[in-house]
Point group: C3
């Protein structure tokens, strides 16, 4: 992400094949990474637009997000305590303010997960409704984003501290989710993180993007740890990232003049990309679905005032990023296919890939495979 | 299937997760259940309508059913004794009265399975055609239904004894198969049996069905063993289960006035559901295809006189049951999905699920897992 | 392939089930057969028509074929030496004479595989471009066909010696690839070889083909070893194999009058079928994709003079063979399905299957399973 001469990948090389093919490593990641980290699963605004209950799948777990009677966002196992039926699906959704009713036999839970009604269970000896509330998974909200965790190594505030200013400046909790795009990518999740971590590929892969933010204009703000990235300068004459380079929304209220001339790109290990534009915020939620497949959900966040304006047209941003996303997924899929093949040998990183190397280092450390991080030129 | 206060599930709980996810248990079922029980595979009438040979797949075995020259129904391995080509497929069928001819090199078998002709084999030293008849699987016919077995624990008559009157009253061997519907359900076979065994779900899942046979009108005739179930009363003003509640066929000749006001629902462990209506019989053939998938074939049987009537319109029954079936498969699939997930905990059965508990008990016993049958509240 | 009385299959029987179902045997084949034999992957003419670079997949390996600056055909691993991206795909192809440019970060290789350019790598300490050429797989060209090998037991000339006259007479290196057809067949590769090795099935399976070359007109030229087959006589009044039996191209220049009245069919273990017609050559490239699936690519080769003629219409040959191919794949798939089933027992070969038995013998020997070759009648 930088062309400045002092940066370097320090002799590091691309990932060994097994990191994109091994089921055993996938399972180690489950235990050592995804089971120990904060995972971003949604923006609180998504919840409102679906009648108050959002079914999600994360790390092979089925959850449902609801906002309870006192406004707290909660995540429950999306499984009935009677005979295990899934509770909320795209086609079985809550209306605003309702309780969660199982589609099978009608057991009903309030939005704190308590069993409210269980028809015909009165005659069952020893049945205590209090023992049959929904199982809850801890969540927290920061910057309007909903995070789940199982046994995190640090608090959410500690984890996000390097971006505290960013979230404050862009006021992500006040923005509205105007568009959502879903992608299923045939590549290991780490290849998507690596792809997002360098603009070495931009001239060849993203000619349109490279015109708006030439790859030489990148610099690194965060160069080690779980959160990596920094700003890129917009080219002269461009207001934001869009099909024409013109404004899509209105300039976000808190930004100073320097911020209004940049796009910031951050990767938040291991579940999210964040890019902040002068007039909108783009979030990529990254979810492993198998060793060789990754699901991506993009959220486009705009200021409510911009959205309410008569001339607002979100497709100028969505169309631009949809093209860039597909260009990225194509090379990620080609890299997965090549890395799987017998003829693959990990090559050396260039100076433009110093952030890729930093991602790898953090990954190796988190996986407690520090040894593997030493796989370098002699 | 009953709301009567004396019934109860006796503290039993839903199945543990492994019963709907474990390949090992699936294999144990193969050995201890499906290899030892009578399995219903077709109605004899189906055979006539396909030119005398019906290819079927049951328990991963390829068979072909034929009626031989003396009228006996036989099941053969659907595999040529030369180089193993499949003999009869949907697109390679017999015309009435023909022999079975292999589509590859033309070896031909009569309908008792004997090799009749093997072109160009005369020059093969020591070739004895009598050694190359089709391999046969034992079958029997009862009530017009064709059953196969490998090493059954009891005779077919013993197995079906509890329903002897039922088969006699409805004369299933005289009825005609007027419609066949196929479904592929993404749920373990036991979840379909459980679903069929209670009407606790009827008010919420089947509003149309519940109008015709209100769930309070159920009682249990058979409450333990391999065959379970009993009658439900038709609501006043309803003649049968159909889109309007009006007659589809004509009242079956042998029924008394009490029978003509009921629908009986039975599960025949482990391969069949039987429901007898005043004017028709509906059979669900249930076949496991994997731990998590089940194939269902529905046969609609009507009296020949009704079928020949000018105004006969089978869609009034087929359309009604197709909707009810799909409503059932949807909740079975939601239950499979929920039970597979990490957050599943088996809950307690209600009094309305006493037959579900009886099914479980018979299943556990047959699997020789009596211990598991004790997974109850303390 | 012969009806002459002195031929016989010598008591041999069809393959045991495991040869078409076992992953372990598939892996043994990889090591003992496909890793040790010459494999035909393309005709050199295919290379020209795609801008000079042809991506191929063979034995789960990704390769790209190019003709280098001095005219030599080379096969490289289709994987970039930087981060492993696939280099050439159907949608990322070379224009004539260009170098191979990686679609990800633009590393560029010349057609001898040498790294020509690697943008922004100058600052990477110790980076030596000479160490990052493409990995090469040995190839040779014979009769215009491109063959790869890993560690062959014999030279390509030795392997093809039995067909040296055939290749010379038909001048396959001068012919043009006029049509290519691809098939994905749900059967083990050996069942396709067996199917091609006998015309016992022709009367029943291929009525149209059997009219042009009656199965009684077959004789064996090569009856043991890796290359098997021989000629069949064209029926009176037929010029070649085509929808009408009339000429499609013009008689190939080198053929004598006897050759001009025959079609020769050869199997080249383990990757190719070759059939030579009076006016064209048909090549089937056979590639295992899994135990139960095989990919087939058919190349239709005609003389350039014929192709340039105004009335040339290749569909008369392609349409004919497409029908015959599909008839063959159907019985191969039925045989695979039957052989997988529990009821399969290997039957005896007829005298018309002597070449099938010869194929099996060569297969068993190559697999070093001579013992298995003795699976015969007592
Ligand atoms: S499974 Fe939810 S109420 Fe029965
Ligand atoms: S496989 Fe049936 S006749 Fe050859
Ligand atoms: S992967 Fe080929 S240039 Fe980077």
């Amino acid at each position: 992400m930088t062309a400045s001469p002092q940066r370097s990948a320090d002799g590091a090389r691309a990932l060994e094949q097994r990191f994109v093919t091994s089921q055993d490593l996938f399972d180690q990641e489950t235990k050592r990474i995804f089971g120990r980290q904060w995972l971003c699963v949604a923006h609180q605004q998504q919840l409102e637009s679906v009648g108050g209950a959002l079914p999600i799948e994360i790390e092979q777990q089925q959850l449902v997000l609801v906002r309870d009677e006192v406004g707290k966002i909660r995540a429950f196992r999306n499984v009935c305590r009677h005979r295990g039926c899934q509770l909320v699906t795209a086609s079985h959704c809550l209306a605003h303010g309702q309780s969660v009713r199982c589609p099978y036999h009608g057991w009903t839970y309030d939005r704190q997960g308590r069993l409210q009604a269980a028809p015909h269970m009165a005659g069952t000896e020893g049945f205590d409704p209090q023992q049959y509330g929904l199982l809850e998974v801890p969540t927290e909200v920061y910057g309007g984003l909903i995070w789940i965790h199982q046994s995190p190594r640090q608090s959410l505030e500690e984890y996000l501290a390097p971006l505290a200013g960013q979230f404050a400046d862009w006021s992500t909790e006040k923005l509205r989710v105007v568009a959502v795009c879903d992608y299923d990518v045939a590549a290991n999740w780490k290849l998507l993180f690596q792809n997002y971590s360098e603009c070495y590929h931009c001239p060849g892969v993203h000619p349109a993007l490279n015109r708006l933010t030439p790859f030489q204009g990148a610099s690194n703000q965060l160069a080690s740890g779980p959160i990596l990235g920094g700003p890129m300068q917009l080219a002269a004459g461009c207001q934001t990232m869009s099909e024409t380079g013109d404004w899509v929304g209105s300039r976000l209220p808190q930004l100073d003049d320097v911020q209004a001339r940049c796009v910031h790109y951050f990767t938040l290990f291991p579940s999210m990309f964040l890019s902040t534009h002068p007039d909108y915020v783009l979030i990529h939620l990254i979810q492993r679905t198998s060793v060789e497949r990754t699901h991506v959900k993009c959220l486009f966040l705009f200021h409510p005032d911009a959205v309410d304006a008569a001339e607002f047209e979100v497709t100028a941003a969505v169309g631009f990023w949809d093209r860039v996303n597909r260009e990225d997924w194509e090379v990620c899929e080609l890299a997965q296919a090549g890395m799987q093949s017998e003829g693959y040998r990990p090559g050396p990183y260039s100076a433009l890939e110093s952030v890729v190397a930093a991602f790898d280092r953090h990954y190796y450390q988190t996986l407690e495979l520090e040894a593997a991080a030493d796989g370098r030129d002699a």
